[in-house]
Amino acid sequence: MKKPLKKIIVFILSAAVLIGAFDLIQRLLTPKYVDGIVEGAFVKEYYAEEMDHDVLFVGDCEVYENFSPVTLWEKYGINSYIRGSAEQYIFQSYYLLEDAFLYEKPKVVVFNIQSLQFDYSRSEAYNRMSIEGMRWSKYKVGSIYASMTEEESFIEYVFPILRYHSRWSELTKDDFKYLFSQPTVTHNGYYMRVDAKPAGSFPAVKPLGDYSFSERAWSYLYRIVEACRRNGSELILIKAPSLYPHWYDEWDDEVKEYAASEGLRYINFLEHTDEIGLDYSTDTYDGGLHLNLYGAEKCADWLGNILSTEYGLADRRSDSHLAAVWAEKIEAYNAEIAAQKVKYGIE
């Protein structure tokens, strides 16, 4: 073999070995989110879906714990998905929505406006959970730059090993077991909990000096509205029925005023708890912050009725392919209900 050619081959082989080893170590050190804190796995799971959803929920824990897409399918034949992650900020929701529009054009987008109260990210950990699972696109880059706290660097999103290298001393069996693939932890983005903890008392409501949302937060809501219009999706603004953190009347008025000015529907679920049939002594698993399975199914049922009657979403249960897909999902859903009942000692 000629010398220059040999050199080139050796160089390419060396580079390939180095890149391969680097990738392997990076996979090993990156959190798998299969046990304990699983919220970091939510965003990535979306890409395994067939992109044909009628409804897309976007928001933080107030959507991924409070609405069950399985109920929407079982009762109304609505194919829905939740794009949510822990404390997902409004700018992250915007970029996730734009990202979803790259793959599909849902008829309805349901956005939870709880995150309007935050103008900037408060935690690097939450940023990671919302952004890392996104596929690379200009929207992921946008989300990174919109979210980064002072201590973060863009390069650490490109090469997560630079962020997670310190996990080398805390690796578990799961890190090796799920090196190349992780199990699905949500049900179309819904995070299930079957246990119950009745709503108790909350810290006294503190009056705020200024109830107006920041310009930055509003600007991202405008962008969400624009993106939905551009993509032909109906936008519904909601405030999920979580009792805490407190949702101020002044905030509610601001959203109502904005929704009216833009001709958008705004539903504050806290005003409809009786119609929905929510019982905060049985339908929440953490004392009223988030709903459990029973609460989430009730909310989905109530919203499903609106979606099918007022938004004309067709019942697709007769679509054999979709029905087969959902049959599998329902099986997994029921299996987890059974498993969690055992876990939490529920009859």
């Binding site: 060396s14 070995v17 080893a21 390069i155 962020r163």
Partner: protein, 522 residues
């Protein structure tokens, strides 16, 4: 832009690419632009300070250099007409002119250094001595001012002495002063050593480039894996001198000595490696310093460029000055020939060590540290005959066992003296040192309080073992030279392992408080 930041790595990659893509002629100017950009990121206003130093020293060097040239041309032209006395008188007259330029330039640049670095120290001392309430000034110390000022002064003195030719080009001189790899923490390079490779516009040389890269990687390993991990514990100990006493001080001293080595030599490895990647040769600054058998030897092996700078540009001028000559005569007359010869040397050394201490920082801690070094060196010098006799009489003092003992003794001495680096005040330093001997300070010790996990201690131990092995292997031949002779697969594996260890086990990124290189503050 710290060496260990992503910004620096990005900056370096871009500059390297542009450097090797640019035509040969444009490479050195590009390096200057890169160095100024690097410096700009440290603070735009700092560019003024370094520019003043570069311009004034360059101009003074030019004047002095031209005067030297004119002097020799004149003497050459009038060789036959001038008597020896006339020639000497002419030379003396011209030298006085050059001295004036030298003095003015030194005054200006040392004045700037003193103003930004020592004004508040002076004010604090005046207030303490005279009970005045003079206010402190708010002034940021420009990045690397101690280093580039000394490099510039060294150049000017060399031009004055006629050992290097004055640089005619301002931009070339500016590049020497501001060359970004060594502006942060040295080494204190000499113009004569660097200029050829710095201005050559070197083309890409694969072997040299990868040798540089290896050195950079080794520096990162020492800094990120060892030094910054040790800093977690040392930072805690230093940060709360009231809480951490007794055994913590003992452990802290030991850890700090290792940290200082890994940090400073790691930083210099990065400097030399980066320079090498551009084809620029920078002098070594260390020669296995912790293998020294005496403090004297240690100072020949540690921060070599600083020590030789003080020797060449302070000790020699002071000890050979006219006033010192007069002082020698005086001491010989009053203390006899032998002692009379030594006292002026000790006085000159005192000045050097006082300055060395002050150079390290505007604090009595550093001055005491410097003078402690001086005292030990002078006492060792005085006791040399006694040691000699002892070594002759005691068996085994030529063996390796005794050599190891001397190495450990010197290491311990350095470890204790390094404590003066750590604390802000002399009181804290002495108090902490004294606590080692106070029984009550030894109760309630908990290793967990140091903030290091078992795996951290394991990494430190392995890291130290690797550093020690590399040092031992380098005694006869450099490790990189040894490695270069090995098959490609082995070299590649070592490189990949070092890279992986640094990336994975290194202390950096979110969750860690990245520490600056220790020597950048000097």
């Amino acid at each position: 832009m710290v060496f260990t930041s992503y910004e620096f790595l990005g900056f370096l990659a871009v500059l390297l690419l542009l450097y090797y893509l640019a035509p040969k002629k444009l490479r050195p100017p590009l390096l200057l632009v890169g160095s100024l950009v690097f410096y700009f990121f440290a603070g735009a206003k700092f560019l003024i300070y370094i520019s003043v130093t570069a311009v004034t020293v360059w101009a003074a060097g030019l004047v002095i250099g031209k005067n030297l040239e004119a002097q020799s041309e004149y003497i050459k032209a009038h060789k036959a007409e001038l008597s020896q006395e006339e020639k000497k008188a002419f030379r003396d007259r011209e030298k006085r002119k050059r001295k004036l330029w030298l003095a003015l330039c030194l005054l200006l640049n040392l004045g700037i250094l003193a103003a930004v670095k020592y004004t508040n120290f002076a004010i604090a001392n005046i207030n303490g001595l005279f009970g005045t309430k003079l206010g402190f000034i708010t002034v940021a110390v420009p990045l690397g001012i101690s280093y580039y000022t000394f490099m510039a002064i060294g150049y000017l003195v060399d031009v004055f002495r006629g050992t290097v030719k004055a640089e005619k080009s301002l931009w070339r001189f500016a590049l020497f002063v501001s060359f970004f790899p060594h502006v942060i923490q040295g080494p204190i390079s000499r113009y004569g050593d660097m200029s050829d490779s710095l201005f050559a516009g070197n083309g890409f040389d694969r072997d040299r480039f990868f040798r540089g890269l290896e050195r950079v990687l080794w520096g990162f390993f020492k800094k990120l894996v060892i030094a910054d991990r040790i800093f977690i514990a040392v930072g805690r100990i230093i940060g709360d001198s009231g809480k951490f006493q007794g055994p913590y001080i003992l452990i802290g001293m030991l850890l700090y000595t290792v940290e200082l080595y890994a940090d400073f030599t790691g930083g210099i490895d990065i400097t030399i490696g980066v320079a090498q990647m551009f084809g620029v040769e920078v002098k070594e600054n260390f020669m296995r310093p912790y293998f020294s058998t005496s403090l004297k030897e240690y100072w020949r092996r540690w921060h070599i460029t600083m020590c030789s700078w003080f020797r060449d540009y302070l000790f020699y001028p002071v000890s050979t000055s006219r006033s010192m000559g007069r002082f020698t005569k005086f001491t010989k007359k009053h203390f006899g020939q032998k002692a009379g010869k030594r006292i002026p040397v000790y006085v000159s050394s005192f000045i050097v060590w006082f300055s060395t201490g002050l150079w390290h920082g505007a604090s009595w801690n550093f001055i005491v540290w410097g003078l402690l070094n001086w005292a030990i060196l002078m006492v060792s010098e005085e006791l040399e005959p006694l040691y000699g006799g002892f070594h002759k009489r005691l068996p085994g003092t030529n063996g390796s066992g005794y050599r190891v003992f001397m190495i450990l003794r010197t290491f311990l001495l350095i470890t204790v003296m390094n404590l003066f680096d750590c604390y802000a005040t002399l009181g804290e330093t002495i108090g902490s040192l004294a606590s080692i001997f106070r029984a009550s300070a030894w109760t309630g010790f908990s290793a967990a309080a140091l903030g290091l996990s078992v795996s951290d201690w394991a990494v430190i131990a392995v890291g130290c073992a690797v550093m020690l092995a590399v040092s031992l292997l380098s005694v006869k031949k450099g490790v990189r030279e040894r490695l270069a002779e090995k098959p490609y697969a082995l070299r590649f594996a070592v490189f990949a392992l070092l890279f992986a260890a640094t990336v994975v086990v290194g202390v950096y990124g979110v969750g860690y408080d990245s520490s600056q290189f220790i020597y950048t503050r000097f």
